[in-house]
């Protein structure tokens, strides 16, 4: 390949980059602006709202189940009865092969297994609000745990 043939595409790419930077600089760099304290507070509040909802579901709060239209247990059993402080839920170990399910599983898979088997409840939408809240509470409770995916 001659040096002339190589030079033209490089020049073209350079011009295109300058074009993007010139016309889209505000959007491209927007995320680098400092967050305001109000923004950070709002993010934290949104997160903690999920934690609290998940905590209530995890502890068998009937009103929260009703609001989110889920039935996590039909035996009186709540998640927290086997997992106080979410102990032994081990979110930091997922994904992993989960022998009870006999497949490679995510935390959401395991949450649904616990709902269906020990709790004899009704499986929930894996992307639904209740699942997000349960997952958030479990992760928040284990925020000091060390990531160890795959460990049984």
């Amino acid at each position: 390949m001659s040096s002339k043939k190589l030079r033209n595409p490089i020049i073209a790419a350079g011009v295109a980059l300058l074009f993007v930077l010139a016309f889209d600089a505000e959007r491209a760099l927007g995320h680098k602006e400092k967050h305001t304290p109000d923004q950070l507070k709002a993010f934290e509040e949104a997160f903690m709202e999920e934690v609290k909802t998940g905590d209530l579901l995890f502890h068998g709060d009937a009103a929260t189940e009703k609001r989110l239209d889920v039935k996590l247990s039909n035996t009186g059993f709540a998640c927290a009865m086997c997992h106080p402080f979410t102990s032994d839920t081990h979110p930091h170990e997922f994904p992993k092969f989960q022998e009870q399910i006999n497949k490679f599983a995510t935390l959401r898979d395991m949450i649904n297994w616990c709902i269906e088997k020990p709790n004899e409840g009704e499986k929930i939408d894996p992307d639904g609000e209740a699942m997000k809240a349960l997952e958030t509470y479990i992760y928040w409770s284990n925020k000091g745990s060390r990531l160890d995916p795959g460990r049984h």
Partner: protein, 374 residues
């Protein structure tokens, strides 16, 4: 070293004269030696058989006859229409206790017969236990108590504390559950709401509810004062009489006073429920042994598991007969007490770190719950 561990060591140094163990004449048996060696990682495969007997020796009254008693606790019964599994397991335990040969001299029911203190649940428990022909004695659990502050429970199963002497052993049953600080009146809670908070192990409103209480301590002191210091004493409690993990009330808040009272006595064994797991501890000259639940196993607490405990195996959550059961205690004429966990699956103790209820959690750091904080 954690503050709790430092405190335990200091208590132990204060309460245990140099060279003494919980019973001055106690010699560890081979089975306990295996138990001890497992703590330090040696193989304990010999204990993998069902049932695994952990044997300890304690001084027995001269001329005492051999006898056995059974411990059953933490059945956590709901109305049977809601939860038949807990009924099934209670029935199984009762049948096995009834079939013991030689028969047990008595049954101690160690609390949490009901899940939410409902008279329906307590009546169901009484009905299931009524098929047992042997003597039965009861101490309350918090789940039996806080719907009506023990009114139904006490009427049906009698008041605590109590004491009786049996074949050379003084047995004392204490109430460790009825002294929660009042968090409900100012919040205008209904009885059911109060019960709900007290029935939540990791709840925050109940606080440090477990205690022997000043009246209980006085009672304990008076019942020991006329008992020879070298003769065996067994104290039954729902909660352990030492500090294991206060956030779940795996303790009594006045455990130090308890230890001061039992200090002069050389042969004191505390048998407790509430923790739903295999536990063993010694502080001063008192040993504490944790019993299984029939309902479900609790995980070991994030901190504070006594170093003398050989952890039970991780239970399979898909098998509701795993990690649960009852216990038989045999006092032999050869001056031994055998306590035998009757767990309903073949493995009781973990033989590998990854299968252990404590070793499995080496990367886990937990945060207390938040939604019920005041």
């Amino acid at each position: 070293m954690s503050d709790l561990e430092s405190l335990r060591r200091e208590m132990d140094r204060t309460l245990r004269p140099a060279g003494e163990r919980p019973d001055g004449s106690t010699m560890m048996t081979r089975r306990v030696f295996l138990h001890k060696s497992a703590i330090y990682g040696a193989s304990a495969a010999a204990c993998g058989l069902f049932p695994c007997i952990s044997t300890i020796e304690m001084a027995f009254a001269q001329g005492g006859a051999a006898f056995t008693f059974a411990w059953l606790s933490d059945t956590h019964l709901y109305p049977k229409e809601l939860n038949s599994r807990f009924v099934e397991k209670t029935v199984r335990a009762v049948k096995e206790i009834q079939a013991m040969s030689p028969p047990a001299d008595f049954l101690i029911f160690g609390g949490d017969l009901a899940q939410l203190g409902d008279p329906v649940e307590l009546r169901l428990g009484a009905e299931l236990l009524s098929t047992l022909a042997i003597k039965k004695v009861f101490i309350p659990g918090e789940h039996d108590w806080y719907l009506d502050m023990g009114a139904t429970y006490s009427k049906m199963f009698g008041e605590s504390p109590w004491t009786f002497d049996h074949k050379g052993v003084r047995f004392i049953g204490l109430d460790t559950v009825s002294r929660a600080r009042d968090f409900w009146t100012s919040r205008k809670m209904s009885d059911k709401e109060r019960m709900g908070h007290m029935a939540t192990l990791d709840g925050t409103l109940g606080g440090d509810w477990a205690a022997v209480g000043s009246d209980g301590l006085k009672y304990l002191n008076s019942k020991l004062s006329d008992w020879p210091k070298d003769k065996p004493v067994v104290i039954f409690t729902h909660n352990p009489l030492y500090e294991y993990y206060p956030p779940w009330n795996f303790w009594v808040r006045d455990w130090k006073q308890v230890h001061e009272i039992v200090r002069p006595y050389g042969n004191v064994t505390n048998i407790h429920g509430h923790t739903h797991q295999v536990l063993y501890n010694e502080i001063g000259k008192m040993r504490s042994i944790g019993m299984l639940a029939t309902s479900w196993p609790w995980p070991y607490a994030p901190t504070g598991v006594p170093k003398l405990t050989r952890p039970m195996v991780r239970a399979d959550p898909g098998d509701h007969f795993d990690g649960v059961g009852w216990a038989a205690h045999t006092m032999t004429s050869a001056a031994r007490v055998n306590y035998e966990y009757k767990m309903w699956r073949k493995d009781i103790f973990a033989t590998a770190r990854d299968d252990s209820g404590t070793g499995d959690n080496r990367n886990q750091v937990l945060t207390p719950r938040i939604a019920d904080r005041p």
